[in-house]
Amino acid sequence: MNPESVISELRDTTLKALDAAATLEALETIRVDALGRKGKLAEVSKTFGKLAPEERKSLGILLNAAKQELESGLDSRKSALESVALDARLASEWFDLTTPAPGIRPGHLHPVTQVQREIEDLFVSLGFAIMDGPEVEQEYYNFDALNIPADHPARDMQDTFWLKDGRLLRTHTSPVQIRALEKLGAPLKMIAPGRVFRNEEVDPSHEHTFYQLEGMMVDRDVSVAHLIYFMKTLLSAIFHREVTVRLRPGFFPFVEPGFELDIQCLICAGKGCPVCKQSGWVELLPCGLVHPAVLRSGGLDPDEWNGFAFGLGLTRLAMMRYAIDDIRLFASGDLRFLNQF
């Protein structure tokens, strides 16, 4: 057989073998057999030494062409086999991603904590400091310093838990007004969230323990217009929407003038329900201009300083935010309730 026929036959049989190879291993065997250093093509080239240079040259071209053809055939067959293998692996790795993930689920912050933090962040961004005061409070800070002397009938407005040692459980966060003025002086912008206590019978809308957030701003020039501005800013941020509010006279001895800021009940949209005592309005915010007697208690001259103050009911706010119709759930410790937030 002449060398041309040997090369072309070798090429044809190898290409056939490549097509028939079913695994990468078989492919490798074929490669070594045909293209390896001691493979069949190498064998053929060894016989070229005896030939004339012209003949050797043309055979060399022929050999190279066959080699390239086989290599590319090998590559394409190899990638075809690899892709089949990958497909098979992928097909075997099916995983049901609807399976619940193992491990602990995050817990839940108390709804009052969530509301409180949101409002704290809001006020901190407005330059307010966050202050705190004791839950067991002296009569002086809870009443006298706030322009509520011992014989003042306003003391009846807040049913007080009295303690055997003569102190009391703070009935509001307002004592922090005095403590903050004593500590930081004026000008002052502060809020004071915290737990307060009233000796009240418990029902769906009354609790003896609840949460307030006191706010106070004292500066040279503070007006009712400023107060309204702050309250509007605050409420639109809290409720993320327009809410209907109204201001009306309210009596609190530590402010003059004093207001009740009402918000239209979000549970019943003003139609009347147990939370709003069927009135359609919920008292949200007692507020007013700081009474001169309170400024004096805080060591300030009322001719030089003015201020506004407000008390936000955090518990009530959480009830409105989440449409909770029973205030007693907050202290129930019931995870069926708390895990909803």
Partner: protein
Amino acid sequence: MKFSYNWLRDMVKGLDASPEVLERLITIKTAECEGIEVHGADFIIEVDNKSLTHRPDLWGHFGMAREVSAITGQPLRDPVMPQNFTAKNPPVKVSIDDYSLCPRYSALAFDNVTVKPSPSWLQQRLEAVGLNPINNIVDVTNFVMAELAQPMHAFDADKLHDGPIQVRTAAQGEIIEALNGESYELDPSALVIADPKGAIAIAGIIGGAGSAISEKTTRLVLESANFNAAHIRKTSSKIRLRTDASMRFEKAQDPVNTVRALERAYELLLEVSPGIRMVGGLADAYRPPKEPAPIVLPLDWLARKLGRSLPAEEVQRILEALMFKVERIDAGTLSVFVPTWRATKDVAIKEDLVEEIGRMVGYASILPTAPLAAATVPAPSVERVFHHSVRDAAVGQGFTEVYNYSFLSEELAQRFSLDPDAHIRVTNPIVADQNLMRTSLLPGIWKNIVDNTRHFDSFRLFEIGREVHPDREVPHFVAAIFAKDDGVAGLHELKRLAECLLPGSESRPSPGARKFEHPQRATDLLHAGTLFGRLFEFHPRMIEHGRAAVLDIDLQALMQLRSSNVKYQQLRRFPSSSFDLSVVAGPRALIADVQAAMKTLAGEALVSIEFLRDFTLPTGDRSVSYRLTAGAPDRTMSAEEVTSVRNAVIEGMRAAGYELRV
């Protein structure tokens, strides 16, 4: 306080606002209304008493009629016809011991009295505002009170002993049988009305039974007096008796009103007891209080307070509608005279006038304005931020936040090894046994666990709250894990939580677990020798069908420990070498002790020691494995040096009685 719509209409000429409109106007301008009730042909507007605390004049219909007239601009009709009683020939002699306690005592006397049921119009008016009709005489006194806010009292003159009426403090132990059938023992802190034989009324609060009006009464003495507000309030709370009279007096009534009330009552008595005759003139013991100076109101100050300016004419018009007298001092300043019924305590300073003007002009008319305040960095709230970070850590690890009450029963305190006498006690608890202030959050958490086991097989919860001790309030963090297993996982999880909150914290089992703790599963938590918390499992007696692990951390201590300064240590420039060692320890040996011993033995060359695992051998002993890393800051340790460290640890541990598996 109940206000009759028809009664108000009698006093405001041409009032055309419907009850609903009127209710809204009163709420927006004056005081909070709580609703309207239909009563026959009348409508009763209920006003929240709390919002009348500072308004003595609004405890009668005429006071509210004044407000309505000022709000609507419709003219006011005064129900009182001046009678010009003569002060000559007073029917009784009145002596007042202390005019600061009783600024005024006025009285009339009548004979030829007929006691019978009131006419129906009078009964209906009283019933409409929640007062029970009794007889024509008593009904007149109640009617005048409901109309003019002036409490009155009628005595049967035949049951009084001859002599002067004295207003004096009670004798120690003086007893009076009151109209309500109760008997009150008084002391000198109370004021009484007395005849020569003894007390006939507790001043301003209730009359005595002995001189009560009865069907047989034919002669009467009609009292209309004024008392010190604080004093009435003190006596009323001391004897635990609040009456329609005391509620009004404690708001500081206007002494000018006593005679007006007698004038009104006189007219009514003529109508309801035909043939009645007044005996003598007016008895009137009165020391008028010093007339208060007018309030100087600068209009630019007013504008700065309200945040809007108002022309002098409008301010004057508003104040005059509310019956203040106004004089112009100059173009920018008013002099304001307060009417007597607003002057007793309600309106005294210029800030009070801001409210009067603001509410009448309407707060909705004030344009919200951003304050011109300097931008300042607020004082940092370190504790608040820290508490929130603890909350976040707990929530991230699956704990849900609970809030518990601050109250505790003595029984529960004892169950939690707390001495009831070391607690602040509540004088007037909401429930008799909830009378201690909690000095631990554990009882509340325990109750949460027990309650939630009814609904869940496993759960995690936590609370941040204050322990309230007599001398301090300490914020605590308590977390709990409940599961129906052997409890080990829960304890480990909580220990891990403690380490997340305070890296480098250690546990040290303390002998003498408290009785609610599992005696073999309780440990103190320390950091650099400072105690900051406790980790334990509840005693099986405390929790049925499951186990609860609890972590209790003093947040004050934790915050201080956490804020200790962190200083950067230069990274090691030379490689270190590690080797593993397994130590066999006794069944109840503490791993912490094993680790501490190895640490000491490795000495300065130790870079780190890492716990790998422990398991129980068939013998019951435990095999504990550690990876130790040794190195030097200034060079690479030679293999010989590392081996010598390893040998020192091995030999040392053997000398200490541990077996080593090498």
